[in-house]
Amino acid sequence: MGPAILLTLELAGLTTAILLLLGVPLAWALARARARWSGALAGVAGALIALPLVLPPTVLGFYLLILLGPRGPLAPLFGVTTLAFSFPGLVIGSCLYSLPFMVQPVRAGFAALGSSAWEAALTLRAAPLDAFVTVMLPLARGPILTGALLSFAHTLGEFGVVMMIGGDIPGKTETLSILIFDDVETLNWSAAGHLAGALALVSFLFIWLLLRLERRPWA
């Protein structure tokens, strides 16, 4: 139980960190795409990113098995025969699965900010990267925090994808939700109840924090 909790927190933390690094710039690019071709591209990209919301985790998990497997493009990059049944594999899967939870709120946040501050920064000698980091990121910190909390909470409770690609290796891929599932399945209800209660409490705290943040006016 100890290793599973640690592993779950590690997975959620790392996934959130990676999504902050990749998802926020992606959300920015999607929010900025206005020209005809880039707008169309952004539409397709937006739909792809939202796909994990509607795809059953088993379907996504199956594609991930192929993507991470010996015939996929990723395993050779890591110098292994397969990324399934490994922690990096879980991180990749969780990132894909939680991507919409980061991208959607942040994209909406950037869209709500509009181009006012962006243009002002450009006329004040800030190059695009500079303007993005010093103006747009701080102004969008509310939505970014929302995205991070959602991604973290979602990964914390993530089950389907982990089940599909994890292989239940204790300490490596056996997360809290998998452990709960196993306990329930083997009628080990008191252990399952404790874990589930803890997970529910943590998730509640996150959602509660989120709702509080949403009430706060962010300039």
């Binding site: 006329t123 004040l124 303007a131 103006v135």
Partner: protein
Amino acid sequence: MGVIAARFAGPFGGFALDAGFEIPAAGITGLFGPSGCGKSTLLRCLAGLERMPGGALRVDGAVWQQGATFVPPWRRAAGYVFQDARLFAHLDVAANLRFGLRRAAAGGIAWDEVIDALGLGPLLARAPASLSGGERQRVALGRALLAQPRLLLLDEPLSALDRAAAEDILPRLGALSARFRVPALFVSHSIDEIERVASHLLVMRAGRITAAGPLADLLTDLAQPFAARAGAATVLDLPVTGFDMGYELSLCGFPPLCLHVPGRVGPLGGLVRLRVRASDVSLLRTAAESSILNQLPAEILAVTPAGGPHMAVVLGVGPARLLAHITRKSWDMLGLAVGQGVIAQIKAEALAAA
């Protein structure tokens, strides 16, 4: 003196922009036109916020756009003051002011002077959200100036402000361009605002520049919509030539255009702008003893109906032009005609530095 030369043509939004102009790279040029005529789009092209293919822009010798050359907004020294200030909400006033200063190459516009000229000292530690509209716009002006611009673009900076706030900023605006030696393009749909600060004028209509030239010339040009309108005025930029301590009157200009103005309007030899309302100018056939001090020999250059009972009369006083609004009845009773010599009289009381 350098020039700012621009030409931008192409479809834009709902209209076709076809605007070319050349203005001196000094002082304030007013850009006047009705809402939706393309003023803001033109300004955005000048700032590089819009890239219009085929456009061309030179500012005092530097090419900002020409053919394949396009200097991006962050590399061209164009200061932009937006209608809605656009201060960065996550930074306090001081950090907003420093934003452009830190990123610009060293220039001649000093922190202390800008703080002083715009009265920003007491605001430095405040958050933008706590500022009034006028304060915000003053900070925005300071922020743009501190980025060491070679051209200041003012996009209706007063239109969102109440009368009092606008009155606070307008006089400072006129002084800024001269004090910091930055040419400015001042967009407004109010000719009154432009009359108080600009030396040049561009008139824009439906995407085109329809008239361009010194402000005083266009205000008295009957082909333009300014001379005949109610509240019409002309501007005179005159040196202060004397001060009468006993009567507390300043003397401005040289004969034949020499005016008495109440109070001390400026240092001896300094230029003052006098705004002369057409309704404050009356005409005499011949010089007469009168309580009115300012009697100028003038020639009637042109005349046009000014709506209702009024006539707009363009007068030549030496090289300068004045406008007088008089009734048609007066015109007929005095038997006035174009080419005739008259005396234009202006009550000193009605004169004040703009």
